[in-house]
Amino acid sequence: MKSTVMKKTMYFFAVPALLFYLTFWIFPITKLFQYSVTDYNGFAQTFNYIGFDNYRALFNGGTLGNSISNTLVYTVVSVVAGNLIGLALALLLNMKIRGKGFYRSISYIPTLFSAIVVGFIWSYVYMPDSGMIATFLDKLGIPNDNLNFLGSYSSALYSIIFVEIWKNVGTTMIIFLAGLQTVPNDLLEAGRIDGCGGWKLLRYVKLPLLATSITINTTLSLINGLKAFDFPFIMTNGGPGTSTNTLIYSIYKMAFTEQMFGKASALGIISFILIIAVTAVSVLLMNRKEVSA
């Protein structure tokens, strides 16, 4: 019965999507492997095969290590801080507070803004002398002449990570809030009767039941962080120096500014492997946690 209802001809339904996906995504990706062993510059018709020279140059140069470490910092900080803040907001706005619906909507607003607009707004916020934070400190009488969020080597990366978190925390919060609605009330009641305080209720009742939400939020922000491009591109151009060069921004710069598409492809292949490995390992880890929780 089943096999006559669910025929194999059903696979034809996947053809249009597959056609798009193979033509404009998978095939171009395979081309990257080819270009990564050439000296192709991105537009000339001819290029030479140069073996693994691109890879060798990358491993000997400073760009690879620098971009990987920037990307990992970007990812770890935005995943951990983004999820903690999102969870805290969700817990707060899940309590009996007047106007919580209104606050929930408000916290979602930044996610609606285009990355360009967000980049512009936060460039103003961070700007030395006349930016928002600087004028605030002026009003409070706090000296801030040395404060340059986007211009200093030590703070630029963290400043753009903060923008990333600000933009995405609304989504994280909404997903946690949805998860919190699935926590049965009688379970919380039972916990309270057994003498659990707020913290214990959170740790032993709510968090285990939020496992799915945590997995989803972590995976989404993990992929987001590993693919980070927008804010280095709009706000810092990778600078000062190379302090905000993420992997994807480095690839972009190498391909389009320095016109070394072969080398950029090699960096792309390395990033690709790194992104897949990190995502796969963390998804597997979380799945195991989720089952045991």
Binding site: V5, F20, L89
Partner: protein, 300 residues
């Protein structure tokens, strides 16, 4: 289990659970503090946006401190920004681009997910993961081969070319949402009646299955619609004429102005104009925006 909880109740005679005391200073204080905390957090969160709104409402030559909120109410900066970004055309371009892309995504992704959810074989599982894996690849990385592919197919670079990429890049997440939803939310039994009535696969999918997918379709429209609407990268690649630019691309024309305080009033007016359509949509369709985000996460 039951006896355990009753025992706990007897050991700890705390009546505060259900009975409400007429006045409790401690609880009231706690509640007020909590309320204050929320207001402070929300204020911190939104200060940049409030300042942007207030500054955008000044005339272009009003260079007083942006922190003096709402010290002028003028639409002069909006008028300048409106003209500089060709707002009318840009808005129309954005609407057309997003609408066509989202429509195609819904049709393609829903159809592709049907066999992946219904057929239980190694092939269908592979297809599912194959689509999902595309999620981790950033577009910036493969841009040049993509452009070459589009050129070699003889597709001209018009204002509609980015649609190809919007549809393609939306497939991984959309098929993920649709497949999950069909697997857990649309029982096979609903199709059997149609099958017995002699309906073919195509009609069965569009008349029986697809109407049941409305919740996840809303979710796909919202999540993919927002990123497509806000994307500047693929637009930047294929569109060079300002008459063809959608809103985020029109914003790129203001690049550099954020370093120049004398341009802020107009820049921020442009920012508000760019965000306005989605903000209006959000205020009317809030429950779909919020619900759409969580369909995938609750169904798991």
């Amino acid at each position: 289990m039951n006896s355990g909880t009753t025992a706990g109740k007897m050991l700890q005679p705390e009546p505060a659970l259900k009975t409400r005391k007429p006045f409790n200073a401690g609880a009231l204080l706690k509640k007020t503090l909590l309320q204050l905390l929320v207001i402070v957090i929300m204020a911190l969160n939104l200060i940049p946006l409030v300042i942007v709104l207030s500054t955008s409402l000044r005339s272009p030559d009003n260079n007083t401190n942006p922190l003096n909120l709402f010290n002028e109410l003028s639409f002069a900066s909006y008028r300048t920004a409106f003209e500089r970004m060709h707002f009318g055309t840009a808005l129309l371009n954005s609407v057309v681009l997003t609408a066509i892309s989202v429509l195609l995504v819904v049709v393609f992704a829903a159809m592709a997910s049907y066999p992946m959810a219904r057929i239980k074989s190694r092939w269908s599982q592979f297809l599912y993961l194959f689509f999902l894996a595309g999620l981790v690849v950033p577009g910036q990385m493969v841009l040049i081969p993509i452009v070459q592919m589009i050129n070699s197919l003889g597709i001209p670079s018009t204002q509609y070319t980015p649609i190809l990429m919007f549809v393609t890049c939306s497939l991984p997440f959309s098929t993920f949402l649709y497949t999950g939803f069909i697997r857990s939310g649309v029982p096979e039994e609903v199709e059997e009646a149609a099958h017995i009535d002699g309906a073919g696969l195509f009609r069965r999918f569009w008349t029986v299955v697809f109407p049941l997918l409305i919740p996840v379709t809303v979710s796909v429209i919202i999540t993919q619609g927002i990123w497509i609407w806000n994307d500047y990268f693929f637009n930047m690649t294929f569109i060079s004429k300002s008459s063809q630019s959608p809103l985020p691309l029109a914003m790129l024309g203001f690049m550099g102005d954020q370093q120049n305080p004398t341009q802020w009033n107009v820049l921020f007016a442009a920012c508000m104009l760019c965000a306005l359509p989605l903000l209006i949509a959000f205020s009317f369709l809030q429950k779909y925006f919020v619900g759409g985000l969580t369909v995938g996460s609750v169904k798991g």
